[in-house]
């Protein structure tokens, strides 16, 4: 994004700064969801399917 912004002087500084800030927010505050998803996936399906149908 930084490179792109440098190449595109058409957009103002405020526009560019907002893109950086939004990307930073995404990486710091949204992307860590991946780690939680990955942990759940790696745990496998056994606990998911362990209950018998009758137990529901």
């Amino acid at each position: 994004v930084r490179e792109l912004a440098a190449l595109q002087p058409g957009h103002g500084a405020a526009f560019r700064d907002a893109k950086f800030a939004t990307a930073r927010f995404y990486f710091q505050r949204v992307l860590p969801r991946v780690q939680a998803h990955a942990a759940a996936v790696k745990a496998g399906g056994l606990s998911l399917m362990a209950l018998t149908e009758e137990a529901f």
């Binding site: 792109l4 190449l7 595109q8 058409g10 957009h11 526009f15 893109k19 939004t22 990307a23 927010f25 995404y26 505050r29 949204v30």
Partner: protein, 469 residues
């Protein structure tokens, strides 16, 4: 309630600066006309049309809903007039093939306009959306006379299209479908069966509706290998494209739904209705997947559009609504309280919507550019790679952006507090409208199966690696 404003600066940033659309269009065959000047003009006109014509009908369409009167669907007040203006302004043929009356602009330009339409009025947007899916199937698998007779009127906006797949006992598992097609002496077919959840199955916009309907031939093998695709028009059409009397395909009822109330969801009864086979017998699934993939990308765009729209509403409210002081001291001492945009958790919700709107836009437009490459490149290797990448990205676009639309409409409503829950501010409509997007055109679960089963495990590591290249 805030007015919708097409985010033209963000759209142009993704299209031109991030994805390099100009260079792509300049090198792809039959894309040379798509210059920046032309695209900018299209986007500006699209912004005007969606902001001024479609957006004001969003709430009234939700309140009015669709009505079934004497077997015919009446759409909400103003919808038909908006469609007439849409056609008169040339929007119906924006990305349609030039040979059949379209303007032949790239799909990725059409996607930007589609985002605006869906942000302004998601329910209204379903009518042209289904036409677009039908266009893709007709373009790729129909015979020449069928294209002249059915594709041209759809591209010109005189008729619209539908996709008739689902039956009462047959949803995600198409192998179960029962609708029958009996061959006739004249080369046509008689189609009999019941289709449900047919978006835009009937309406008052146009003189005819072209149903693309999955059915089984008498000798068809069981399961998905025995499905064929048929054209069944509301009014019979001969091989010269001339319209005749009413066909025996009728709307039996319309559904009462949680949201998307301006979009007619129809039960369609086919009672020995006249139809034509499209493509090869028993190869209907292939033909259907062409329109399905188009429709899945389009639903991903619907998710994006809702994220953008609800973000705009929440942003305006958070700047305006005064409650409590900032934790770091008053920001607007001249006022009785600070605007709620100063509060960190309001920021979290706004930023989440903004981040998904902007990243989702880049993902969606990028996927649509792969469609343009597949459609137009002269290089078979480039086409193959773009096609694999597109196949990989389609369930991601559809699944991720619609799930995020549900999350973001939740956040945006939450920013309004109690005012989000009441109808006056319009936020609860977005939350209700968003909910269908994770369901139709394949639920999120079906997208997951497609991504993992078909695209990753079946495609093998090589396909994945080339997708990530």
């Amino acid at each position: 309630m805030t007015q919708y404003q097409a985010p033209l600066a963000d759209m142009r940033f993704v299209l031109y600066d991030v994805l390099g659309a100009e260079a792509l269009y300049a090198r792809l065959p039959q894309c040379e006309g798509a210059t920046r000047d032309l695209i900018d003009a299209v986007l500006e006109e699209g912004a005007k049309f969606t902001e001024q014509v479609l957006a004001p009908l969003n709430k009234t369409g939700d309140v009015d809903g669709c009505k079934l009167e004497g077997g015919a669907v009446r759409t909400p007040k103003g919808y038909k007039e908006a469609y007439e203006q849409f056609v008169a302004n040339g929007w119906s043929g924006l990305v349609g093939p030039i040979a059949y009356g379209g303007q032949g602009l790239p799909e990725s330009v059409g996607a930007v306009v589609k985002e605006m339409i869906d942000s302004a009025n998601l329910a209204w947007g379903t009518y042209p959306l289904l036409s677009h899916g039908a266009t893709e199937s007709l373009k790729h698998v129909a015979e020449e006379w069928q294209r002249e007779a059915f594709l041209r009127p759809i591209v010109e906006g005189r008729w619209t299209g539908t996709m008739c797949l689902t039956e009462p006992h047959c949803g995600s598992d198409l192998g179960l479908l029962k609708t029958k097609a009996e061959p006739q002496a004249d080369g046509g077919y008689k189609i009999s069966g019941t289709k449900i959840f047919i978006t835009a199955g009937d309406h008052d916009f146009t003189e005819n509706i072209v149903h693309l309907c999955l059915a089984r031939l008498p000798d068809a093998p069981p399961g998905v290998k025995g499905i064929s695709l048929f054209i069944v028009p509301k009014f019979r059409v001969d091989r010269e494209g001339k319209m005749h009397g009413r066909n025996t395909v009728t709307c039996g009822s319309i559904e009462h739904k949680m949201g998307l109330k301006g979009s007619a969801t129809c039960v369609m009864n086919f009672d020995a209705a006249d139809g034509y086979l499209i493509g090869q017998p028993n190869k209907g699934l292939n033909a259907m997947f062409i329109m399905m993939n188009t429709a899945r990308l389009a639903v991903g765009l619907q998710g994006l559009a809702l994220i953008e729209r609800c973000y705009q509403g929440a942003r305006a409210y958070a700047r305006d609504r005064l409650q409590s002081r900032s934790m770091s001291g008053p920001k607007r001492p001249d006022k009785p309280a600070d605007p709620i945009i100063v509060h960190p958790d309001v920021r979290r919700m706004l930023m989440t919507c903004k981040a998904f709107a902007e990243s989702g836009r880049a993902l969606a437009y990028f996927a649509c550019m792969q469609v343009d490459i597949v459609d137009r490149t002269a290089d078979p290797e480039e086409r193959k790679q773009a096609d694999e990448l597109l196949g990989f990205l389609t369930p991601i676009c559809k699944g991720l952006m619609t799930e995020m639309a549900c999350e973001c409409t939740y956040h945006a409503l939450q920013v309004f507090g109690g005012h989000g829950y009441i109808a006056e501010w319009g936020m609860e409509q977005y939350a209700r409208d968003a909910r269908i997007t994770t369901i139709y055109e394949g639920t999120t679960q079906i997208q997951a199966l497609d991504l993992l089963g078909r695209k990753i495990l079946q495609g093998g590591p090589a396909a994945c690696a080339s997708s990530w290249r």
